[in-house]
């Protein structure tokens, strides 16, 4: 029993040790999540258009003002609509999008559980 406890504590320690440092706002990640509205399927991080440059400047200013990632997304959605963010916000329109995959995951797991009935005596 002690051995198992020891192993579990090692696992726990290694995992926690790997997670002490927290991440700050990653500007490049943020840019990649915003659609360049004048381009064909490009994010503003990947685009050279004037629109992309302007939005990047605006976001840089907002980060300097100390706004959080959430506030910046909210600002952009209010101004340009949900089309601009690649991360669809969770609301009544996008409810199915966010939950249906998990629904399928649960149903699938349930089906496999039923199919593979335990037959330990066999």
């Amino acid at each position: 029993m002690n051995k198992i406890k020891f192993i579990i504590s090692i696992i726990f320690f290694l995992f926690v040790a790997s997670n002490i440092l927290a991440a700050s706002i990653n500007k490049n990640e943020l840019f990649k999540n915003i659609r360049c509205l004048v381009c064909q399927g490009q994010s503003i991080a990947d685009s050279n258009s004037d629109f992309a440059r302007t939005v990047k400047l605006v976001i840089n200013d907002q980060i300097k003002d100390g706004k959080t990632e959430k506030e910046i997304y909210k600002f952009l959605v209010e101004k340009y609509g949900e089309w601009i963010v690649y991360n669809p916000p969770l609301n009544k329109y996008n409810f199915i999008l966010w939950f249906f995959p998990y629904f399928i995951l649960i149903i699938g797991g349930f089906l496999i559980y039923i199919l593979s009935k335990k037959k330990d005596s066999a």
């Binding site: 290694l14 997670n19 991440a23 999540n33 399927g41 050279n48 999008l97 399928i104 699938g108 593979s116």
Partner: protein, 628 residues
């Protein structure tokens, strides 16, 4: 001239397809177990005609015969010969022609290679293949005719989109289509199997090669597209969760699921109807992918067609196919009583299928959801990388763990007598993760889990390899593909976390410093090329830690026909990392906008995918040998 030849051949092939179907039915009523020689002759004739008409189109592109609309719209005399040829399938009509030629050749090959199978099964498969061929021929002839003419004949063509003029993109569609179209064979075979009750192990033998073949080509095809996106789009990424990229993944997931459940059907004679359903899903998702790409309903970089009538045709074709096969399936389906032991290889393979279907549905939903919200509620949304990353990546962690344990499980009833081993492998992977984290850089919890689980898979696969060599039943393809998949996820994880991206504006002669890098904009040159002008920048990238200097030369290309500006990335690859620089001009100033990226382990991502598909090819080879 070429136009009439092409049209005539296509028309002739349509008639031949009808004759094939007629002869097949006649042949079915005849006694004997042999397929009549006539049928072989007609099929080879039909195959020849389609090949000739395809090469007529290629020839028209080579000699730049602008009397053909397709050639006029997609080619230009000043284009290098290689891109004239690849331009044949770089457009809607030509790519359908490519689809058709592969479909016909595959049908013929199936007929020839299935000699020892039941006659009815072969003939029904052939009939369904020919129905598909007719559908494509009709679509080609009446909607998207590659041999349509334009009068008066223009002197010069409009040219091919420069970003499509690229070697990786020249081979990308043929490879991908080998996968897409290969799935048509087992779709037809599945229907034929339902009609003729040709099931179980016999059915597996008939389609296994085709599943492996299409899966391996599909994998390589997706890779070619990804490599193209990496160096041609100049964004530094290799996967953007773009709708068109997603479309190539739908069939890949169901093929992977099929590949695995075929093993259960082969070894344990179970899951027959599930296999049939997967066969149908694979092909219909290939066609659905084509529909999404070709109809222009999706907003994407790659979409080069925008014509609703095409969409409607493909959509009705698709619905007939789905409804037809669903009705047939419902008629034939029997509730066969498969009771599996919870802890057995069968269950682990079902778990694989479970995850594959989850990925398939998630990606499909993400791709088509914006269409529905826009049509139903006039609410425009974008579904992009953050959605897929949030939903899929946490699930991948569990998937990798099942994938590590599954292959070593026993059929029927498994025991975890190797529990100690699993724990020690887990500790090893935790240690690996801890070392990377401690000595290099910190990253998120999720990244930790990804790196742990992928290392877990890699070590387990090696362990699996050692054990199976001892037991003398070494399954090389499984070990290569599985461990390569582990490496793929590991390298993607590392690449994601250790990339450096910096953007800044520079004038000639200026230097930019950041982290341990020093970039000097040394020179700017102008060059004239065959079909474009280039502005070439020269940058000295100095890694101060290693005192290592590299020169990178990104370009801005100005194409005349059609007039476009493209930004060519300059990439220096080595074993550990890629340096990636792009440059773009800023209006009314001497400054250039420079984007520098360091991408670790890029080559290893490509190699991993090549190995994954190599596993498939090796298996195919072994399978061939076994048949004698």
């Amino acid at each position: 001239m070429l136009s009439s030849i092409g049209n005539f051949l296509l028309l002739l092939s349509t008639i031949l397809s009808l004759i094939v179907i007629y002869t097949s039915f006649k042949n079915l009523n005849e006694k004997g177990n042999l397929i009549s020689k006539n049928l072989f002759t007609i099929c080879s004739l039909q195959c020849t005609f389609i090949i000739v008409s395809f090469f007529t189109l290629v020839f028209a592109f080579i000699i730049s015969d602008f009397s053909l609309v397709t050639v006029y719209q997609n080619s230009h005399t000043a284009k290098p010969i290689f891109y004239k040829i690849s331009g044949t399938w770089g457009n809607h009509e030509g790519s359908l022609m490519l689809w058709l030629i592969i479909l016909t050749i595959f049908s013929f090959l199936f007929l020839v290679s299935s000699k020892n199978k039941k006659k009815e099964f072969r003939i029904y498969t052939l009939i369904i293949q020919n129905l598909l061929i007719i559908c494509f021929l009709v679509f080609l002839l009446f909607n998207s005719n590659p041999f349509g003419i334009v009068t008066p004949v223009p002197k010069e063509g409009l040219g091919l989109n420069p970003i499509l003029q690229d070697p990786a993109l020249a081979i990308h569609p043929p490879l991908l289509y080998l996968g897409f179209v290969g799935s048509s064979i087992y779709f037809s075979a599945a229907i034929a199997s339902l009609l003729t009750n040709y099931s179980g192990k016999l059915f597996v033998n008939a389609i296994k090669k085709w599943v492996l073949l299409s899966w391996s080509f599909q994998t390589i095809g997706i890779l070619a597209g990804s490599i193209w996106a990496y160096y041609e789009l100049g964004w530094g990424g290799f996967w953007f969760w773009d709708p068109v990229e997603n479309a190539s993944l739908f069939p890949w997931f169901s093929m992977t699921a099929l590949l695995h459940s075929l093993i259960v059907l082969e070894k344990r004679d179970k899951l027959y109807f599930w296999v049939i359903i997967l066969c149908i899903i694979t092909f219909t998702s290939s066609v659905a992918g084509t529909f999404l790409v070709r109809s222009g309903v999706l907003n994407s970089v790659h979409t080069f067609a925008n014509d609703p009538s095409r969409g409607i045709y493909i959509l009705s074709f698709l619905s007939i196919m789905i409804f037809g096969s669903a009705i047939l399936l419902l008629k034939k389906i029997k509730s066969n009583n498969f009771v599996f032991n919870t802890n057995s290889k069968e269950t682990f393979i079902l778990v694989n299928n479970w995850f594959m279907i989850f990925y398939l549905i998630t990606i499909f939903l993400g791709t088509v959801y914006p269409i529905f919200t826009e049509v139903l509620s006039d609410h425009k949304i974008s579904v992009g990388p953050p959605f897929y990353n949030t939903v899929i990546i946490p699930v991948v962690v569990f998937f990798l763990i099942f994938m590590s344990i599954g292959p070593q499980a026993r059929w029927i009833k498994n025991r975890f007598d190797n529990f100690k081993q699993i724990v020690s492998i887990l500790i090893c992977s935790l240690l690996i993760n801890f070392c990377i984290f401690y000595f290099f850089k910190s990253y998120s919890v999720l990244s930790n889990l990804i790196i742990i689980s992928s290392s877990f898979l890699i070590i387990s696969s090696f362990n699996d390899a050692i054990k199976s060599i001892k037991k003398n039943n070494f399954n090389i393809s499984r070990i290569i593909s599985h461990s390569a998949f582990g490496f793929l996820i590991l390298f993607i994880g590392l690449n994601h976390n250790f990339s450096i991206e910096e953007e800044f504006n520079l004038k000639i002669g200026q230097i930019q410093k950041f982290e341990n890098y020093n970039i000097r904009f040394t020179n700017l040159n102008l060059e004239d090329h065959e079909n474009y002008k280039a502005i070439i920048g020269e940058f000295k990238v100095n890694n101060l830690d290693k005192n290592f200097v590299q020169i990178l030369k990104p370009e801005i290309r100005i194409y005349e026909k059609p007039s476009t500006l493209t930004y060519e990335a300059s990439i220096r690859s080595n074993i550990l990392e890629d340096y990636y620089v792009t440059m773009s001009n800023i209006d009314r100033s001497d400054y250039y906008n420079i984007k520098f990226q360091k991408k670790p382990f890029m080559i290893w991502i490509w190699i991993s995918v090549i190995l994954i598909s190599l596993g498939g090819f090796l298996r195919l080879f072994r399978h061939e040998n076994k048949i004698y």
